[in-house]
């Protein structure tokens, strides 16, 4: 199965994406993550104003198969959450890089974003992960 990526995003090994827009960044989970989870039924998001360090658990996503922690790709303060997800968590399945975003972050250190995988690196990483799962 081909892994879908978004060219403007950066990616973590735990299958989150982040996309800079000015000093803010949007973050969510990747297409590979939503496929693995299958139908998402609930997304638990932090409160605006909460701050997290890089790699800290900031959200929980629940599908009919499993509940998984999500790790914030960059340190910063949450300035906005995607309130649409409360009633329509399936947006994450339909459009994980767009309408299915999780949070907007005021980024502490934009260099952290640069250290993450770019789209092509992540695509290779996710495809390897997929094969490994089937070993």
């Amino acid at each position: 199965m081909a892994v879908k990526v978004h060219p403007d995003c950066r990616y973590t090994k735990s299958h989150e994406w982040v996309r800079m827009e000015g000093e803010h960044a949007y973050a969510g989970i990747t297409d590979y993550a939503q496929t693995q989870l299958s139908d998402i039924v609930y997304v638990e998001l932090p409160e605006p104003g909460d701050s997290f360090s890089q790699g800290e658990i900031y959200a929980v996503v629940e599908s009919v198969k499993a509940a998984s922690d999500c790790y914030l790709p960059v340190a910063g303060e949450i300035v906005e959450i995607n309130e649409e997800l409360e009633d329509t968590p399936d947006l994450v399945n339909q459009d994980c890089y767009g309408e299915g975003w999780f949070v907007r972050i005021l980024v502490e250190d934009p260099d952290e974003v640069e250290d993450l995988m770019d789209a092509e690196e992540y695509r290779q990483f996710a495809e390897e992960a997929e094969e490994e799962g089937a070993h």
């Binding site: 693995q36 139908d39 039924v41 609930y42 629940e62 009919v64 198969k65 499993a66 968590p89 399936d90 799962g133 089937a134 070993h135």
Partner: protein
């Protein structure tokens, strides 16, 4: 649904019992806010009531109805003699508030069960308090916490948990105030030793490990794992959910565990819910023995006054050196262990469940328990060897009491573990555990238990083989399954997204 709910069966004024006219003075009723007249209670005859619940029970699938290979749950047949013993009037008609001297028999049974579980696990102390497996886990992890605190070793806040662990392990860790650190599995399904070494430090309180793990694999490095954790000052918690694979073969205490729970409702053939509550006794090594939850039963030799007991109790005798109104015997009493984490349960745990487990252990004896494990492991390997030719097997090793296949069929890319499971219902069998452990995609976790005959195992192989064939030739049959159950495929996603937890009458 083919059966209405009980509110829909009723009619106003219908009832199951008629009370005689009031022939005593009417009592004053409590004031209005304490009384409710808006409670909608079903009004049915006794016959309606009986038929309703018998219909519901007929829709149910249980170990008394058919094969139930639900991995990690050990759905073995529960011998009916357990029920006979649990219903003995001498046990049923006792109450936990009775004075100790009038329930010496109950206490003796609890004591002997503690001793049996100690012999089976190799631990120094056992508490029967916890009410279920996860409750036993919480007990164990709180014991580890109190142990470190009692030594002033308060910087240990991390708990190591492999990625194949039961979901209750992280939950327990969080409830006990620890921070969880996930460890990877290696490509043989063992704990990755390098990953373990990398995470060990003086901040590690302990590690929670299930052995055999949820892949049904015995960790080949168990002694090295427990040695490394101990060397770093941590303690080993054992998740005893898979004890059915070890009875009489090895003892958790001997492989380095400091504390472990047992699921009486798995390994020791007591009912899983429905027929009764669970029970998750916890056993401990010398380091943690004084921390077990209490009270637990102690036994000591004593001079017992004849009028204190109704009947001759235990191995008492009327030795000549005792005064005539006393005899020497064993006295059982409930006490709190010295550094106990305290009570986890009202009274003394689930006594009725203990009677069933005690019966099971006494009926089988040590030799019988060993055979339980041998047959459980043999049955699982029999199925694994045949079925790995039909469905992919991620970790191809001799398994213990269960194994994990991938619910994938070549040439049928749309078929998922869920479809295979739902189709099994049409063959009169309960599906295996789905989508767990998380490290195997489309996991189907199969645990046949020792109580199934070769005939049943072969019927399961036939069903699984036919389903793989149906997946290739008629995938819709699987997508729409089950066809023969009271309800067909339920929309699990919609149910989870639109939670409706209570039935409402029309128009409300």
């Amino acid at each position: 649904m083919t059966e209405p709910i009980i509110y829909e069966l009723g009619a106003p004024g219908r009832c199951a019992a008629r009370l005689p006219d009031l022939d005593v003075p009417r009592a004053e009723l409590p004031p209005a806010p304490l009384l409710r007249d808006d409670l909608n209670l079903p009004e049915v005859t006794e016959g309606d009531l009986m038929r309703h619940y018998v219909h519901l029970s007929q829709m149910n699938h249980g170990v008394d109805v058919g094969f139930y290979p639900l991995g990690s749950c050990t759905m073995k047949y529960n011998p009916k003699i357990n029920e006979d013993m649990a219903r003995l009037p001498g046990l049923v008609e006792t109450h936990p508030y009775q004075p100790e001297e009038t329930v010496q028999g109950n206490l003796r049974l609890m004591y002997e069960l503690q001793e049996a579980l100690k012999a089976i696990t190799g631990f120094t102390a056992v508490s029967l308090q916890p009410a279920a497996g996860a409750h036993g886990e919480l007990a164990g992890v709180l014991m580890i916490r109190n142990y470190h605190q009692s030594r002033g070793d308060t910087q240990r806040t991390l708990m190591l948990i492999p990625d194949s662990a039961h979901g209750t392990n992280p939950a327990t860790t969080a409830m006990a105030g620890f921070e969880m650190v996930e460890l990877k599995s290696d490509n043989r399904g063992n704990v990755d030793l390098d990953d373990l070494r990398a995470h060990l430090s003086d901040r590690v309180a302990g590690m929670m490990l299930t052995n055999p793990n949820t892949l049904g694999l015995f960790d080949e490095n168990i002694l090295e794992i427990t040695r490394l954790v101990h060397e770093a000052g941590g303690l080993m918690y054992g998740d005893g959910a898979n004890m059915n694979a070890l009875l009489g073969i090895t003892k958790p205490a001997e492989t380095g565990f400091d504390v472990m729970h047992l699921n009486l409702h798995k390994t020791f053939s007591t009912p899983h819910g429905g027929g009764g509550p669970g029970s998750g006794p916890v056993g401990a090594s010398p380091a943690l023995a004084e921390f077990v939850p209490g009270p637990i039963v102690y036994a000591e030799e004593a001079l017992i006054a004849e009028d204190e007991v109704d009947a001759e109790n235990g191995n008492g005798n009327n030795a000549a050196d005792s005064p005539s109104e006393y005899h020497r015997g064993t006295w059982y009493s409930l006490r709190m262990p010295p550094q106990s984490i305290g009570r986890l349960k009202s009274f003394y745990g689930h006594f009725g469940v203990m009677v069933r487990a005690y019966t099971y252990i006494r009926m089988l004896g040590a030799a019988g328990l060993l055979e339980v494990t041998e047959a459980a492991v043999l049955n699982a390997n029999y199925l694994q060897v045949i079925l790995k030719e039909v469905y992919p097997l991620s970790y191809d090793r001799t398994c213990m009491h269960e194994f994990v296949l991938r619910g994938e069929v070549e040439e049928a890319p749309d078929i998922r573990a869920l479809d295979i499971s739902k189709r099994l219902i049409d063959y009169g069998m309960h599906p295996p555990t789905n989508y767990f452990p998380l490290i195997v995609p489309e996991a189907l976790m199969i645990e046949p238990t020792e109580t199934e005959s070769k005939r049943t195992l072969d019927a399961f192989v036939d069903a699984m083989t036919k389903i793989a064939e149906e997946a290739r030739t008629n995938p819709e049959l699987l997508h729409e399954a089950p066809h023969k159950a009271p309800v067909t495929r339920l929309d699990e996603v919609r149910a989870a997204r639109n939670l409706i937890l209570r039935w409402q009458p029309d128009g409300e």
